[in-house]
């Protein structure tokens, strides 16, 4: 007999070693995420996949499912905490959607819509994060970085280049480029790298594309991140 746990009262089957997030999505239930990617080990930094399992808060992406667990995810309490996490992500960086090329295709923004975040609520940090436009094909706008490390992992584990790294601690943590000059142009980074396509927000952007697809006709202008994620899981 297959093992199962209860997600918001619904039985979800799982295999040993599967995380709550993997099993839930496979069974057609949406648990949000920003730093999680099916091709990489869990990172557990964005915390948006937070669920209450057996009464404790855990990251669904990093917690193996257990037989008979009762897991709460799509509840006012958990969604409220997700909204709070999103608000913290928004004030920690400089997220100005109207002037961002990624607007409409941005997962952070799409989750803001999904969880009806109307205000960042907290005091803005307005951190100073200069952009790097040195590379001929790609632009780095660090203002929008959420430290998910997807580019770090993709560049290191798939592209074999280790172009990116996170450095500093706490509020001083930031994304850096692995070159003595610190400039992207002085690395072997290419627009064909996986790291060039994997950013969930608007940090790593191709040059020369801009607003080719107008605001209003973009991915999350026509579809919610919930339905897009579940559709991708099915295919």
């Amino acid at each position: 007999m297959t093992k199962q746990f209860l997600l918001d009262g619904q039985p979800v089957p799982f295999e040993d070693g599967q995380t709550i997030l993997e099993a839930a999505r496979k069974a057609g239930h949406y648990i949000p995420s920003l730093c999680w990617h099916q091709d990489f080990p869990p990172h557990g930094s964005c915390k948006l996949c937070i669920v209450k399992a057996a009464g404790r808060h855990v990251s669904a992406c990093a917690t193996p499912a257990k037989e008979g667990w009762e897991v709460e995810s799509n509840t006012p309490e958990m969604n409220g905490e997700r909204r709070g996490l999103l608000q913290m992500l928004f004030v920690e960086g400089n997220h100005f959607c109207p002037s961002c090329e990624k607007s409409g295709n941005c997962e952070l923004q799409a989750l803001g819509y999904e969880y009806e975040m109307l205000t960042p609520r907290f005091r803005h940090f307005f951190p100073e994060r200069p952009v790097d436009a040195s590379h001929p094909d790609m632009l780095l706008d660090f203002n929008r970085c959420i430290f998910c490390e997807l580019c770090v992992r993709a560049s290191r584990d798939v592209d074999g280049k280790s172009v990116f790294a996170l450095t500093g601690r706490g509020i001083h943590k930031h994304l850096t480029v692995n070159a003595e000059s610190g400039r992207l142009a002085d690395t072997n980074f290419s627009k064909d790298d996986l790291a060039a396509r994997i950013c969930p927000v608007g940090v790593i952007l191709p040059k020369g594309r801009g607003f080719a697809v107008p605001i209003g006709e973009r991915t999350f202008d026509t579809e919610t991140i919930r339905s897009k994620t579940l559709k991708e899981e099915e295919s």
Partner: protein, 185 residues
């Protein structure tokens, strides 16, 4: 949904633009023929639509734009004092928006760049008339200066979003922008 019963008296509404571009006010006018319904339900106090200069006791205050200078702080506090319900209208009021993108630059550098070093400028100098409000070192969203009751994001929020929000509020419902009406861009 049955139409809301008409309020006993018209609600009084004030609007203003602080560090904004009046785009949100333009979008407000984009509710088009709903304006006729709206004026049956509300009357306007201080607003660019009435040209009344000082805000009086109001039910609803709509604030477009962030807070970039001392006059903005003064006007915003006046609105808070006089409006039962204060609403941040649009991206700049909600998070500072475009004007806040000067926040990582020293203010003196911004002023010198514009008024002293801009190409083609002769005898440039930084304006220093006592009538000019002093700029703040950083542009702030309005919730960092006063308590704000509701937020309506968007650059600008669309006419339908503003209409949905106002009709919810006037009917006594908690305003909700679900689905396609919620946008940050």
């Amino acid at each position: 949904m049955s139409p809301a019963p008409a309020p006993a008296r018209k609600l009084r509404v004030a609007t203003t633009s602080l560090a904004g571009c009046f785009g949100c006010h333009m979008s407000f006018l984009d509710i088009d023929e709903h304006l006729f319904e709206l004026v049956e339900l509300v009357e306007f106090d201080r607003s660019p639509l009435t040209d009344i200069k000082d805000v009086g006791p109001c039910d609803i205050g709509l604030i477009e734009g962030g807070v970039c200078n001392a006059e903005n702080v003064h006007v915003l506090r006046e609105f808070r004092r006089h409006c039962k319900t204060l609403i941040a209208l649009g991206a700049c009021a909600v998070n500072g928006g475009l004007p806040a993108q000067r926040n990582h630059l020293p203010l003196s550098e911004c002023l010198r760049e514009v008024y002293q070093f801009r190409p083609g400028l002769e005898n440039g100098q930084i304006p220093n008339d006592p009538e000019l409000p002093l700029p703040l070192d950083r542009v702030r969203p309005i919730h960092e200066v006063v308590r704000v009751d509701y937020f309506l994001p968007g650059c600008p929020p669309s006419g339908p979003a503003i209409w949905k929000f106002l009709t919810d509020l006037i009917a006594g419902r908690t305003p909700r922008l679900a689905g396609g009406l919620l946008h940050y861009d």
